[in-house]
């Protein structure tokens, strides 16, 4: 490979990192906290590449290159491959992981990161539980409303992170969440077996990049009307009914929590499609 092209390839790779970071496109496959590091590496690569190219230009009067001749040959073949991410990311806009990856993972029991007891106490008071047809009574109905704890610990505008929903339904033995109206956001994976009125609301948790994605999932039952399209993003409002957990059991006896749907609303895919531990 020409040493000049090699240096310019570092510039192009740096520009790719800058573009993905500044446009926030990197959130489709990398966690948000990598932002400053990606930006910094882009700047360093552009600088190193421009500097290297300028030196090659000033050396082009017959002076030897920095590398020994035998070595520059092996550099040539490997470095060419850096063209690939540029082409893939530049020509095809990478999409976030979707139902293809979800269907190839088994949902595991959530790990406990929060004080679940404190979390359920911060839920809206029992008065707001769903009443009416198909609803269940709050099994912890005698709870005193707690106004001193931030509700945001569990619900933001009535929305709960899929992670917290899995964690509370799995660990809270008082089943205090039963009947509480909840909004969950995720993408649509068809239910296995193709039962009517059901789908799997899904989201991936990442800790670095899409290669370490872990699947989070909740079953959505009693969907009225047409099921939303596979891989589309929806906000589901509904409530949890522990009695109706039909048990989609995974190998370790864990069953995916289910939400009885009252309303399924199509939404735009969020800019940050992945969950992170901050959502626990």
């Amino acid at each position: 490979m020409s040493q000049r092209f090699a240096a310019l390839l570092a510039v192009v790779t740096g520009v790719l990192a800058l573009r993905m970071t500044l446009s926030m496109d990197f959130l489709n496959f990398i966690k948000a906290t990598m932002f400053p590091w990606l930006l910094l590496s882009g700047v360093v690569l552009v600088w190193l590449g421009v500097y290297g190219w300028v030196r090659q230009q000033s050396k082009s009067q017959g002076e030897a290159t920095a590398c020994s001749p035998g070595h520059s040959h092996s550099l040539s073949r490997a470095a060419w491959l850096l063209v690939l991410p540029v082409l893939f990311a530049g020509l095809l806009e990478p999409a976030p992981l979707g139902s293809f990856a979800a269907q190839r993972q088994t949902v595991q029991a959530p790990r406990q990161f929060s004080d679940v007891g404190a979390l359920v106490e911060s839920l809206p008071a029992g008065a707001s539980t769903v009443s009416g047809e198909g609803a269940v009574s709050n099994s912890a109905g005698g709870r005193q409303p707690r106004s001193d704890l931030p509700r945001g610990a569990v619900l933001t505008d009535g929305e709960m992170s899929l992670l917290k929903f899995m964690e509370i339904t799995y660990y809270d033995e008082s089943e205090a969440l039963a009947g509480v109206p909840i909004k969950l956001v995720g993408f649509v994976v068809p239910a296995p077996g193709g039962q009517g009125g059901e789908f799997l609301l899904s989201r991936f948790l990442i800790n670095c990049c899409a290669a370490d994605a872990t699947l989070m999932q909740a079953g959505v039952l009693d969907v009225k009307g047409k099921l939303p399209a596979q891989d589309s993003w929806v906000a589901v409002t509904g409530y949890w009914d522990p009695e109706r957990q039909k048990g989609r059991r995974t190998s370790d006896g864990f069953s995916i929590p289910e939400l009885i749907a009252q309303n399924v609303e199509p939404i735009e895919a969020p800019q940050e499609p992945y969950l992170s531990l901050a959502d626990y």
């Binding site: 090699a6 240096a7 496959f29 590496s41 020509l91 872990t214």
Partner: protein
Amino acid sequence: MRVQDAPHVEPGPRLPKPAVGWPELAALALLVVVLLPAPYKASLASPGLRNWITIFVAISVQALPFLVLGTLVSGAIAAAVPPGWLARHLPKRPGLAVPAAGLAGAAFPGCECGSVPIAGRLVANGAQPAAATAFLLSAPAINPVVLVSTAVAFPGQPQYVVARFAGSLATAVVVGLIWSRVGKAAWHAKALGRISVGDTRWRTMAATSLHDFLHAGGFLIVGAITAATLHTVVPQSVLSTIAGSGLLAVLIMALLAFVLAICSEADAFVAASLSQFSPTARLAFMVVGPAVDVKLVALQAGTFGRSFATRFAPISFVVAVVCSLVAGRFLL
């Protein structure tokens, strides 16, 4: 970042005009590809291809900061440490140099992509290959960032952090000591040929960093292609249904770590989520992953040469599995 703007900082003898040939035109075409909106959407591709593209781009781009950090350190070593200095000042006896280098790995806060160019530079600058390999194995596994993320992934179970530290450090030291006995100079010939000398320290650092980035970056792409393909072809659910304990589960998790090539700062979270496996099996996932995986083998082959990688990878794998078994038995 327009390449045409660059020549005014040129330090050498003035050229009337920079040479513009195919390299400049090709790079300009690539810049256009990067800066214009993508003409095709990957979501229109088949689901498998779409998945492959996401994982491939994710691994390639996510590794950039770590690779750049590693190549900058490598460049700084080339610029600041005179050739031969390391050989004179590091302990001569492997029994001392290898554990010291293994412990020194705890000070480098990066993933495995960054430690390979540094280890290559250490060898090129005259460090004992055995000590450099101990650093290569320990740096991505026992640095503070990795240990903290392990503690976060296993809340309330600090024994996993202790076991990981012990297992990985033991792997690094044992492999280093084995390498000091069986390693042959010819296997690192590629690394030894890498000394590049610039006229000033800054130039040496910039030239070395650029060179190492391009070189390691190319091989990182080989690793990213392999890992993305395995992610797409091998469903994780198949592997995770062969749950269990005992030696088989440990071997399965070790193989999974080799195949998935997850960054060492994130692998603890994946290990923690595979809760149907025994603690020792999950430990093996975290000890084997940073030591040897498809991405690392590609990087090592590129940095040290193929004859290095084909010997070093199997040794690391076996030693890492054995160290996990021992650490798991006594600490978990």
